[in-house]
């Protein structure tokens, strides 16, 4: 199917972004309205496309639009063309829907900021890039969006870059993302060298004939790309610092959409991973490691946004794990992605609302007892909380339990290990989220009298309410008659009939619930029974201290990459000067020296010249005489 309207999805926010950036201060008065309308209209177009799609039979639902021939050299032919299928439409609606809500929220949240127009320009740029990412029909088109969102994320993290630490955080995010991008570009190169094409359709067609080695190489490099963008182990360190950006950014980019691009990439490349079991296993392992890693960091963070960021990392770990489980897990990974988009965005907006009321204080130890002052925030945040820890019938219960279940049933020791990790992660999630809830909303007030907590304006709480509705209902809707699974079936391979289930779904649910209750109980015991100190206690175990420092991820990166890199750069600088330029200068000095030494003979005394001539003549004669003799 050909469609002509896909491009407007992207062009609208892009155009709006360009207008806002180019008109400068003149647009300050109406910039935010234009900026909000653009994704809003894109959302409507998305809905229209969905309606069209629903009206067609299952096989004909994907639509494409070719814009122009982008790069064409020899056999390397890449068109700028878009493709909207069942997988992309989920993302399109998530991006534009949640995006529009967050734009609305930002109107109020950023109303005091001098540069609100610029903020909306960046947000629009992000929406456009993210849409391009999910709509591109080849890896190279995806790559444009992929780096575009990285750029937008960089700009937004560094939005308040007059603070040096924020600017550093932005740089760190961009560079970590670049390492991931390196993976993606390598994947494209391998794909082109072995299959002669970079489009999804082309590679899917040829994947069957490719050797497992090639596919594994592509898979691993794609995984590197995903770890960079989705803050997965070992490229996870930037996400915590990325919270330097304004809170709506954290909600949109670093929770709901951009960081889930890695999951999209892996699910989109299902045909590669299905044919490369080793790469697929690596994906699952990375997912499992990260979900534990993030959860552990989450237990120790006092900064509400960083705690939520750690939680995001962990939840994306679940998605990656799901995507790494093959055909059985793709649909659930996407489902968790969508539900997570609702509840995590809602919670971040809630956190923003709390900060809004508390003079931008982020330390949860300085909150306490806020439920009386911010009732709507408390309610929406609470619903998100119930969703993330997986209490039925909230969204997280459906999506997360399914991933755990699939992990257990993936067979063998691998299944047991991955499943246990996921289960344990669920317990820790319950623990740290309960901790966040209690520290923020329950207990007694720990803020000083300067702060005047108040509920946020309607523009802020309305999006929160809508997102909360999503967190309550989405899980139920998606699983109703396996609707999402069936919807996605044409894109991802249909899951084969489950072979000998290790654990029944009910057993998994009960196990998970029990662990969740344990986690909640533990947190309640620790933080409700005795008052929380305003200063973080220093006499804690070494484990807590390590967790507070993000499990030493920064120390590791600095010790292994940054400092040797700096030293290398410095050493090369010196070596360049000393050795290469030194050699050149040496030649120059040698020439000069020779000239100077020989110049000494030019003493200006005629008689000495005459003597040299004489000696020369005698020497010459003597030589001739000696030779002829």
């Amino acid at each position: 199917m050909i469609s002509n309207s896909l491009v407007y999805l992207i062009v609208l926010p892009l155009f709006s972004s360009a207008v806002l950036l180019l008109t400068g201060r003149r647009a300050d008065r109406w910039g935010h309205i234009l900026g909000t309308l653009a994704p809003g209209i894109s959302f409507l177009i998305g809905l229209y496309q969905l309606a069209q799609m629903l009206g067609r039979s299952n096989e004909e639902r994907a639509v494409t639009q070719k814009l122009f021939s982008w790069i064409s050299v020899g056999s390397f032919q890449v068109d700028a063309s878009l493709m909207l299928d069942q997988l992309s439409i989920c993302f399109v609606l998530l991006i534009t829907g949640v995006g529009t809500l967050i734009h609305i929220y930002s109107i109020a949240y950023m109303s005091h900021d001098h540069d609100r127009r610029r903020f909306f320009a960046y947000l629009n740029l992000f929406i456009a890039a993210m849409l391009l990412l999910v709509l591109g029909d080849s890896y190279l088109n995806l790559y444009v969006g992929w780096e575009g969102v990285g750029l937008a994320s960089y700009l937004l993290i560094g939005f308040w870059n007059q603070k040096p630490t924020y600017a550093t955080a932005a740089k760190k995010a961009f560079i970590a993302n670049r390492v991931g991008d390196l993976g993606l570009s390598l994947a494209i190169m391998i794909a082109f060298a072995s299959m002669g094409t970079v489009s999804f359709a082309g590679i899917k067609e040829h994947a069957g004939q490719a050797s497992t080695g090639v596919l594994t190489a592509i898979g691993i490099t794609l995984l590197i790309a995903a770890t960079g963008k989705s803050a997965q182990f070992p490229l996870q360190a930037w996400l915590g610092d990325a919270m330097a950006g304004p809170t709506p950014v954290s909600a949109l980019i670093h929770a709901a959409t951009m960081v889930t691009a890695g999951v999209y990439l892996i699910v989109r490349s299902n045909f590669i991973f299905d044919a490369a079991p080793n790469a697929q296993l690596a994906v699952a392992i990375i997912g499992a490691i990260t979900l534990m890693f993030g959860a552990l960091i989450g237990t120790a963070k006092d900064d509400i946004k960083k705690a939520l960021a750690a939680s995001t990392m962990s939840q994306i770990g679940y998605m990656i794990l799901g995507a790494g489980l093959g055909p059985a897990g793709y649909a659930f990974a996407i489902m968790h992605l969508l539900t997570h988009g609702f509840f995590k965005a809602g919670m971040f907006l809630g956190a923003g609302s709390v900060m809004h009321g508390m003079d931008d204080e982020v330390n949860m130890r300085r909150y306490g007892g806020l439920r009386k002052f911010l009732p709507i925030t408390f309610a929406t945040f609470g619903l998100g909380y119930l969703a993330i820890i997986g209490v039925p019938p909230f969204a997280g219960f459906y999506s997360k339990d399914k991933i755990i279940e699939v992990a257990f049933n993936s067979g063998g020791a691998k299944g047991v290990i991955l499943g246990c990790a996921a289960l344990l992660g669920a317990a820790i999630t319950a623990f740290y989220m309960t901790r966040v809830m209690i520290l923020t909303f329950a207990g007694s007030k720990r803020w000083d009298d300067k702060a005047h907590p108040h509920e946020s304006p309607v523009l802020m709480w309305l999006p929160m309410v809508l997102l909360a509705v999503g967190s309550v209902t989405s899980g139920f809707l998606f699983t109703q008659g396996n609707s999402l699974q069936k919807w996605l079936a044409p894109v991802v391979e249909q899951s084969p009939a489950a072979e000998g289930e290790l654990l029944k779904p009910a057993v998994v649910s009960i196990l998970a619930l029990l662990l969740v209750i344990t986690g909640v109980g533990l947190a309640a015991m620790m933080y409700l029974r005795k008052p929380v100190p305003v200063q973080a206690p220093a006499d804690v175990s070494i484990f807590t201290r390590i967790a507070r420092r993000d499990l030493l991820q920064d120390e590791f990166n600095e010790a292994i990459f940054m400092r040797p890199g700096q030293k290398l750069a410095k050493a090369l600088g010196i070596a360049d000067n000393a050795v290469i330029d030194g050699a050149v200068r040496g030649v120059a000095r040698l020439t000069q020296g020779t000239g100077r030494t020989l110049g000494l003979t030019q003493n200006g005394f005629v008689r000495s010249y005459a003597m040299w001539i004489l000696l020369g003549a005698i020497g010459l004669l003597a030589t001739i005489w000696a030779v002829t003799l």
Partner: protein, 99 residues
């Protein structure tokens, strides 16, 4: 008389001239030593002409004389000018051309 003896005289004259050029300071004397060397060469040329029985050497001797005459004109003029400006004809003092 053995023509070789003329060659010995010529070599002797040339050596005297060369040593004179190197050791003496007075420009006039240096100049005269140069003339001595030229004439030593002339003597040798004429001798060779005699030995070989052709006129080539004599022709060259005439050329040398012409060149020497020109040289005397230019050289003496320079020496006189230097003497006028410096009140001295020592070649060592005229070392302005060194670097």
């Amino acid at each position: 008389m053995n023509p070789e003896n003329y060659l010995y005289v010529s070599a002797l004259l040339f050596s005297i001239g060369a040593v004179g050029v190197v050791v003496r300071r007075n420009a006039i004397v240096v100049f005269m030593c140069v003339e001595l060397m030229l004439n030593a060469a002339n003597l040798a040329f004429v001798t060779f002409a005699r030995i070989n029985g052709n006129l080539d050497g004599q022709v060259i001797a005439f050329f040398t004389m012409v060149v020497a005459a020109c040289e005397v004109v230019v050289g003496l003029a320079i020496i006189v000018t230097i003497y006028r400006s410096r009140r001295s004809a020592s070649v060592d003092e005229a070392s302005l051309l060194k670097r």
